[in-house]
C-alpha cells in the first residue's frame, strides 16, 4: 500500500516536473532577447543582448541543463541528479527573466529572486556526482551553507532592494514586486555579502571538485571525468565573475572582461550538461545490461559468469561476487575458491542479493558507480534464481576444491615422509657404513703391517662388501627422494635424471627459478615416470621440455617408443592434486601444473 502510494506520488511529481520544465523552457526562450535588439539599461538588458555568441551560449547552457535534467529525471537511477539539474537550469535563466524587456514585472522580480540559487545548485550538483548523493557530512554542511547564503541574500534583496535606487542596476532598474521597505544601504551590504560568498563557493567548487577527481578510483574517475571537469571550470568562472564585480561594480556585458567571463561560464555549463546527459545514458545502459543478465544467467552459465557479467554491466572491473556457504562457514567466489569476507570501505560498497528473505550472494562494487538499492531492485527474480543456482554451484565447486586440497595434503605428507626417510638413511645407515668401511680399511692396513695375510684378505673383502652396500644404499636413498631436487631445484635434478637414464634424453633449457616442493616434485616425477615408461616401450630417444607459461609450469616429454603408453595414473593424481592436468598421448606426456 505504501509502495502504491509512493508510486502515485512519484507519477504526480513527474508530471509536475515535466510541466514546470516546459513552462520554464518556453518562458526562457521568450525572455532571452536576440542580440540585435537594442541594449537599453533602463528598460531591461541581459548578456544575450551583447553578442550573437553570448546569446547562443546562454541558450545552450540553460536548455542543455533543462534537457539533461529531464533525461536524468526519467531514468530511475539518476532521478535525484536529474531534479538538481532541472532546478539549476531554471535558476540559470533567472537573469534572463529579470532582464526581460516587456516581461511581467512579477516574473522579472521572480527572476531576480531565483538568480543567486544557480551557484548553490551548481555547487551541489557537481559535488553530488555521479549518483546525486553527497558522500560525507562536511560536504553536506558546505552545500547547506551555500544554499543558506543564497536564500538569505535572495530574500533580503526581495524585501529591501529597490532597483530604482541601485546606482549599479542594469538588468532591471524598475520592478521589485516583493519590496517591503526600500533600503539601499541594506541592499548594498547584501550585494557585498553575495559577491564574497560566491567567490568562496566558486573556489571551494574548484578545490573540492579537483580533489574528488584526484582521489576517485579508476572506474569512478572514468564516469566522473566528463561532468566534473566542466563543473570545476564553471566554479572557476563563477569566482572570476565575483572578482570582476568586486573590482568593477558597474557590470557591462559589452566589455571584453565581463563578456569573456560570461562566455566561459556558459560554455562550461553547456559542456557540464553534455557530461551529465552522457552519464545518464551510461547509467541507463548499465541498468539495461543488469536487467539483461536475467536472460543470460538462465541458460546454465559456466562458473563465474555472474561476476563477469555484472562487472561488465556496471563498468567496474574490480567488482566481486562472494557467496556465503553456511555449512562451511566461509565465503567463496563463483569458482568455489575461498575469498575474503565482503567488507565495505575504501570506496567499495557491499550489496546483498536476497532471495526468499535469505542473502544468497554479496556484490562488492565501487560505491561511486552503483547504488546498492538500485542494483538490488534491478536484479530481477529470474536472475535471483540464477544467482542462487550459482551459489549452489559455488558450493559444489568449493567442496571439490576442498577435496583437491586434501589430496594435495596427502601427496605432500607422503613426500615429506620420503624426504625424511632419505635424510635418515643419509645421516644414519650410510654414515655408519662409511665409518665401518674406514675402520675395516685401517684394520686391514694393521693386519698387512703385522704380516697377517689371512686376516688382511678377509678384511679387504669385508671392505669391498661395505663399499658395495654403500653404493646400493646411495641408489636406494636417491630413488626414495632425490636430495638434489629439494636442495638445488628442478633444473639440476632433471639434468641428473637425464644423465642416469638408460636411453638418450635430450633436456631443453629448464627455467632456473624455484617453485614449491610439491610442484617441483610433480614435475620431476612426471619426467622420471615418462622416461621409465618410454624405456619400457623400447624408445631410442626421449626429449624433455620444461617451460613456464604465464602462471603454469608446462612439462612435455616426447619419445619414439612403441605404442601403448601407460596412463601414469599416480602422476595424474599428483598433478591433479595441484590443480593441474596430465595428458598422455601415444608419444607424448604433457603435464600442466599451476605455479602462481
Amino acid at each position: 500500500m505504501a509502495a502504491a502510494g509512493s508510486a502515485a506520488r512519484l507519477r504526480f511529481a513527474g508530471i509536475a516536473v515535466l510541466v514546470l520544465t516546459l513552462i520554464c523552457a518556453i518562458a526562457s526562450i521568450l525572455a532571452v532577447p536576440r542580440s540585435t535588439e537594442p541594449f537599453t539599461t533602463y528598460a531591461g538588458a541581459t548578456y544575450a543582448h551583447a553578442s550573437t555568441a553570448a546569446h547562443a551560449a546562454d541558450l545552450a547552457a540553460g536548455l542543455g541543463l533543462l534537457s539533461a535534467g529531464l533525461l536524468g529525471w526519467v531514468e530511475p537511477r539518476t532521478r535525484r541528479l536529474g531534479l538538481l539539474t532541472l532546478l539549476a537550469g531554471i535558476a540559470w535563466f533567472g537573469p534572463d527573466w529579470e532582464g526581460w524587456d516587456g516581461g511581467s514585472p512579477f516574473l522579472r522580480s521572480l527572476g531576480a529572486v531565483v538568480t543567486p540559487f544557480f551557484l548553490a545548485l551548481l555547487f551541489h550538483l557537481v559535488l553530488a556526482l555521479p549518483l546525486g548523493r553527497l558522500r560525507s557530512w562536511p560536504v553536506r554542511v558546505v552545500v547547506i551553507a551555500a544554499y543558506g547564503v543564497a536564500a538569505f541574500v535572495s530574500l533580503g534583496r526581495a524585501l529591501f532592494r529597490d532597483p530604482f535606487l541601485d546606482p549599479y542596476c542594469w538588468r532591471n532598474c524598475l520592478y521589485n514586486s516583493f519590496l517591503v521597505h526600500a533600503d539601499p544601504g541594506v541592499a548594498r551590504t547584501l550585494d557585498q555579502i553575495w559577491l564574497r560568498s560566491s567567490l568562496a563557493i566558486g573556489l571551494l567548487l574548484v578545490v573540492m571538485g579537483a580533489w574528488r577527481l584526484l582521489t576517485a578510483s579508476g572506474p569512478a574517475r572514468r564516469v566522473l571525468l566528463p561532468p566534473l571537469v566542466p563543473g570545476v571550470l564553471a566554479g572557476g568562472a563563477a569566482s572570476a565573475y565575483a572578482v570582476a564585480l568586486l573590482r568593477t561594480p558597474l557590470e557591462d556585458p559589452r566589455s571584453a572582461g565581463f563578456s569573456s567571463i560570461f562566455l566561459a561560464l556558459s560554455l562550461s555549463v553547456a559542456v557540464l550538461a553534455l557530461g551529465l546527459a552522457r552519464g545518464v545514458l551510461e547509467t541507463r545502459r548499465t541498468r539495461a545490461a543488469v536487467s539483461r543478465l536475467a536472460g543470460e544467467l538462465g541458460e546454465a552459465p559456466p562458473p563465474g559468469t555472474l561476476r563477469d557479467a555484472l562487472a561488465a554491466a556496471v563498468g567496474d572491473p574490480a567488482l566481486e561476487v562472494a557467496y556465503w556457504l553456511p555449512e562451511a562457514q566461509r565465503f567463496v567466489d563463483g569458482r568455489g575458491y575461498r575469498t575474503e569476507s565482503p567488507v565495505p570501505g575504501h570506496g567499495r560498497a557491499v550489496t546483498p542479493i536476497v532471495r526468499d528473505g535469505r542473502p544468497v550472494a554479496f556484490v562488492v562494487h565501487d560505491a561511486a558507480l552503483l547504488e546498492g538499492p538500485a542494483l538490488e531492485r534491478e536484479i530481477g527474480s529470474a536472475a535471483r534464481l540464477a544467482v542462487e543456482n550459482e551459489q549452489l554451484q559455488a558450493e559444489a565447486l568449493a567442496q571439490l576444491e576442498d577435496l583437491r586440497a586434501s589430496r594435495a595434503r596427502i601427496v605432500e605428507t607422503g613426500d615429506a615422509e620420503r624426504r625424511r626417510l632419505e635424510r635418515d638413511l643419509h645421516d644414519g645407515a650410510q654414515q655408519r657404513l662409511l665409518a665401518l668401511s674406514y675402520d675395516l680399511r685401517v684394520a686391514r692396513a694393521g693386519a698387512e703391517a703385522g704380516g697377517d695375510q689371512g686376516n688382511a684378505t678377509l678384511l679387504a673383502s669385508a671392505g669391498d662388501e661395505a663399499q658395495a652396500a654403500l653404493g646400493e644404499l646411495r641408489e636406494l636413498a636417491h630413488g626414495i627422494y632425490p636430495a638434489i631436487l629439494a636442495e638445488a631445484g628442478l633444473a639440476p635434478a632433471l639434468a641428473t635424471l637425464a644423465e642416469e637414464a638408460p636411453l638418450p634424453v635430450e633436456l631443453g633449457e629448464v627455467p632456473p627459478e624455484r617453485y614449491g616442493t610439491p610442484i617441483e616434485t610433480a614435475a620431476y616425477l612426471t619426467v622420471a615416470e615418462a622416461i621409465a615408461d618410454a624405456a619400457g616401450r623400447r624408445a631410442t630417444f626421449v626429449s624433455v621440455d620444461v617451460a613456464r607459461e604465464n602462471e603454469q609450469l608446462v612439462v612435455q616429454v616426447r619419445d619414439d617408443g612403441a605404442a601403448g603408453a601407460s596412463a601414469l595414473l599416480n602422476i595424474a593424481d599428483r598433478v591433479g592434486a595441484l590443480g593441474g592436468s596430465l595428458e598422455v598421448r601415444p608419444h607424448s606426456v604433457r603435464a600442466v601444473i599451476p605455479c602462481e
Binding site: L434, R441, P492, T496, E499, V505
Partner: protein, 219 residues
C-alpha cells in the same frame, strides 16, 4: 702435509681422521660446522681442508659455501669436498668460481687411502679433483648421436682423466706416455669436440664437464 677436517657426523669424521693419520698426514684441527671450519683454517693455515658437503644448520650446501669462502680468502689452501651424492651440478658449482685447488669426491672413495692422499697432493700441486664416478657417468651418458664416438679409445680415456682434473703431466704418468703425446691428444680432443676453451687453461675441467653435461649431439 697439514689438513683440517670438517664433518658434523663424529663417526665419519673420526674415521677419516684415522685414515689420514694412518697415512702420515697431520690433522691439525677438526670442526663440526662451517663456522668452526673457517675459524680453524684462519688459525692454522693448513695445506688443505676436507669438508663434508652437508653440515648444520640446514644440512644442504653449507660445505660448498664454506669451500668457496676458503678459496676466496685463503688462495693457498686447497679444499676437498666430500659428498654422498653423485651430482655433477655440485661439483661444477664448486669449480665455477675457483677452478683450481678444489676437489669433489664421494665419501666412500676416500676409503682407499691412496686416492685420498693422491687427491690432497694434486690439490697442493694446483690441480682439480673430480670423482671418477661422476666423470664416468657423464662420459658414459647415452647420446642420440654421440660426438664422443669420433674419439679414439685412447682419446676417450684422456678426456675422462682431463675431466677428473688431472694435469697433462699427471695423465702422462698415469698412461705411461710422454707429456707431449698427452698434449697432442688433448689438442685433438678439443678440436674434434669443437671446444673453444684453451686446452691448457685452468678452466678446461669446467669446460669439459659442461660439455659432457649438456648432452649435446642429439641433433
Amino acid at each position: 702435509m697439514r689438513v683440517v677436517v670438517a664433518d658434523d657426523v663424529m663417526l665419519t669424521r673420526e674415521g677419516i681422521v684415522r685414515l689420514l693419520k694412518e697415512s702420515g698426514i697431520d690433522v691439525v684441527a677438526e670442526a663440526e660446522d662451517a663456522d668452526g671450519l673457517l675459524r680453524h683454517v684462519q688459525l692454522t693455515q693448513p695445506d688443505a681442508a676436507i669438508v663434508d658437503i652437508r653440515m648444520p644448520p640446514t644440512h644442504t650446501d653449507e660445505g660448498l659455501v664454506a669451500a668457496q669462502q676458503i678459496r676466496a680468502e685463503h688462495p693457498e689452501v686447497g679444499v676437498l669436498v666430500l659428498s654422498q651424492y653423485v651430482e655433477p651440478s655440485y661439483a661444477m658449482r664448486l669449480l665455477e668460481e675457483h677452478p683450481v685447488r678444489v676437489g669433489y669426491l664421494l665419501k666412500e672413495r676416500v676409503f682407499d687411502v691412496a686416492i685420498l692422499v693422491d687427491a690432497l697432493r694434486r690439490l697442493a700441486d694446483g690441480e682439480t679433483v673430480i670423482d671418477p664416478t661422476i666423470v664416468s657417468r657423464l662420459v658414459g651418458r647415452r647420446r642420440r648421436e654421440d660426438p664422443l664416438a669420433e674419439l679414439t679409445e685412447r682419446e676417450r680415456e684422456v678426456l675422462g682423466l682431463v675431466a677428473e682434473g688431472l694435469s697433462n703431466k699427471a695423465i702422462a704418468a698415469r698412461l705411461f706416455v710422454t707429456e707431449r703425446t698427452v698434449e697432442a691428444h688433448v689438442k685433438q680432443i678439443f678440436l674434434k669436440l669443437r671446444l673453444d676453451t684453451n686446452p691448457e687453461s685452468h678452466r678446461r675441467v669446467l669446460a669439459v664437464l659442461a660439455y659432457l653435461r649438456a648432452g649435446v649431439g642429439a641433433d
